[in-house]
Symmetry: C2
Subunit: 402 residues, 2 copies
């Protein structure tokens, strides 16, 4: 649309549902450090009354449309979305136009919203696995890009009504926004509805892009937990890079599914831990393979050693059968995605931010099919895992043997 | 089938996937107390090699078919299931016939399986919200029906290879088993495949039904957590009771969605906690409304008081709009279920065990539509919440004001 907002529609006429995701660059990285948490606070506040709806009427209106809502604040973007019976779509988009363009931001509810966020922050502190993953992201990306959505007790106490209003005014706008829609819908009608509801949404400055500030090394959090929690990470190429799926196939062989190397060699063959996994995470300017293992304090050192060994020796004796299994897995996941309007709308939004365009399921499927074992070997031989970050949480620190 | 196994098929020709659930009464309640955890241990062991597959070949074969697996050990039943591209179905069922009928139960992998379960048990001990929910089920249903799937450190150490073999021999059999299939499948072909793979599965004794041993009251676990975790429960009627959905509508008004009473009155209006919810849980002979709230130690007493007040005063000023919203919510969920072969297969299995027959989506939808506000009022006036169980975990005990 002329104000810089993009609309992407994928009809899935075999479904009865429809889903949308509306995302724009009002994520965590736009916060100043002393107002950490304001992206989430704003996301909470815009949903407390908007347009002609009071706070209670608004949630009632959403429930009356049968919406299965989701909103999320990520490093770069904030997303609002919902899945619903397809006939509710037009009305639902109208409700979200109120939320994003005409929220009341009621001053008398700021303290309730603040209290919610403090509660959430405390809940996370009770979960050690969450704490190690939070810390490793901070080490890998630095304070701004590695920050979690909840802020800190101090920053949450500081945030004022004016701060929320300013964050909303600056970042809730059409430039860089994308609305993705999937399900039992007519593209023409969706475009018309989107144009009517968002065509004159104001257009502001393009969002600033920030750089990651990486700090490799080892950090240990000592705590009397019954498990030792291990997080690790090392840089990789982001989604959108032309060799991305060749890299990703290697991580799939390492960690996707019960026949993957980490599951088979760390868990099944050695019985070292119950949970062990690795996956890829992408920001526009930086990407990482993050991993996690949880085990007993007595087995923690061996778990860390064996896990890092498997990661570093990924390229040794790669088998065609491993690559084939990974391809079947991805193909199967793509079949499932075709049956969920919500998954599809969310994938389209993620493609848009990472690739700058939607990636059709068929094109993705062909990309995956074309990958050879040699591609995977070449990528990982040229780019061996290095610059490791490791965090452990448990009764004692461990030794990182690289 | 003649051996006592039931097959239920629902074609969903608009999908490309298919899913099945195979459930039978080899659940936790069949364990003796000193072998607690053996149902899960057996579930783990049968998947470590079966038929012509070694342990590693078995998971590879499953991954090669593109299976998205799930298996679960519940109080009354154990379930094995998977979703997949529809064309994999026949082969997948063959693999599961090997697992359930011809497992190797390799003695040299027993210690690995045991170690996995001990790790899982420890992981749960690190999660206080899980601990309070585990404890409240134990108080509500007694040791046998309230037991978790992981057993205890002591019982896990005791379980021998002979114990696993005996549990398998006794409970892995066709009498009382049900195979439910949903997705892009032909009923005739499914029946033929099921007959070929399971038609001559041996038939044993009907599983014993056990009674719940309830012990209402208050229990407090003192622990230095940053949140206080509150669990509560009170008896209700089980799924399958003719008034079930009238009862369930009341709990929906109390807790389903962001416009529900607990969310609105405990969280949004008072800012007392981040998470608060209640839901219904059914066993064949007993059922419960369980609830949970997590909050700061300072707000814990008020959170408990307000939450229990809302539960007890559910029937006061019930509004038609509340019931209408709940109905829309259920209808919307039914639309979504029609798009997931896995959800549908799982619902069919659950219907079979609780109702003795599958419930068609259309029939369920009509049942829900027919409920009036008067029905809900009458049920809850005649059956007010009582015999409360409460468990809290946090720095200090609370007072239960009923």
């Amino acid at each position: 649309m002329s104000n810089g907002m993009t609309v992407i529609v994928q009809p899935m006429p075999w479904l009865r549902s429809a889903a949308f995701t509306l995302s724009f660059p009002a994520g965590i990285c736009q916060e100043s450090a002393d107002r950490a948490g304001i992206a989430s606070m704003t996301c909470e506040m815009v949903q407390r009354g908007a347009g002609s709806y009071s706070s209670r009427d608004l949630v009632a209106a959403q429930d009356n449309l049968g919406l299965d809502r989701n909103s999320g604040v990520l490093t770069n973007v904030v997303s609002y979305g919902a899945a619903m019976p397809a006939e509710s779509f037009d009305q639902a988009l109208g409700v979200y136009a109120d939320i994003l363009r005409r929220p009341h931001l009621p001053a008398d509810q700021l303290d309730d919203a603040r209290m919610m966020m403090m509660q959430e922050l405390r809940a996370i502190e009770d979960e050690p696995s969450h704490r190690v993953m939070r810390r490793i992201r901070q080490m890998r990306y630095g304070d701004r890009l590695g920050r979690g959505p909840q802020g800190t007790m101090k920053s949450l106490q500081t945030i004022s009504q004016d701060d929320v209003r300013e964050f909303f005014q600056t970042f809730y706008q059409a430039n860089g926004a994308v609305l993705t829609v999937a399900g039992n819908v007519q593209p023409k009608q969706i475009i018309a509805t989107a144009e009517a509801e968002f065509g004159d949404w104001k257009s502001g400055d393009k969002a600033v892009q920030y750089e990651a500030e990486s700090c490799p090394g080892y950090d240990s959090i000592e705590m009397e937990t019954s498990q030792t929690h291990i997080a690790f990470g090392f840089p990789c190429i982001p989604y959108g890079h032309e060799r991305y799926f060749k890299m990703r196939a290697g991580i799939g062989i390492l960690s996707d599914g019960m026949s993957s190397r980490l599951f088979d060699r760390v868990r099944e063959q050695r019985g070292l831990c119950y949970t062990v996994s690795a996956s890829c995470h992408s920001l526009p300017n930086a990407a990482t393979v993050f991993g996690y293992a949880g085990t007993t304090p007595e087995r923690a050192q061996e778990t860390l050693d064996v896990t890092l060994h498997e990661v570093k020796h990924l390229v040794d004796d790669l088998q065609q059968s491993e690559l084939d299994r990974w391809k079947v897995r991805i193909e199967s996941a793509l079949v499932m995605e075709q049956e969920s309007s919500a998954s599809r709308a969310s994938s389209l939004a993620s493609d848009f931010f990472q690739l700058g365009r939607p990636l059709e399921t068929k094109a993705l499927s062909e990309l995956i099919e074309a990958i050879t074992l040699k591609d995977v070997q070449e990528y990982w031989t040229e780019n061996p895992p290095q610059d490791f970050h490791v965090v452990t949480l448990g009764p004692q620190p461990l030794t990182v043997n690289l």
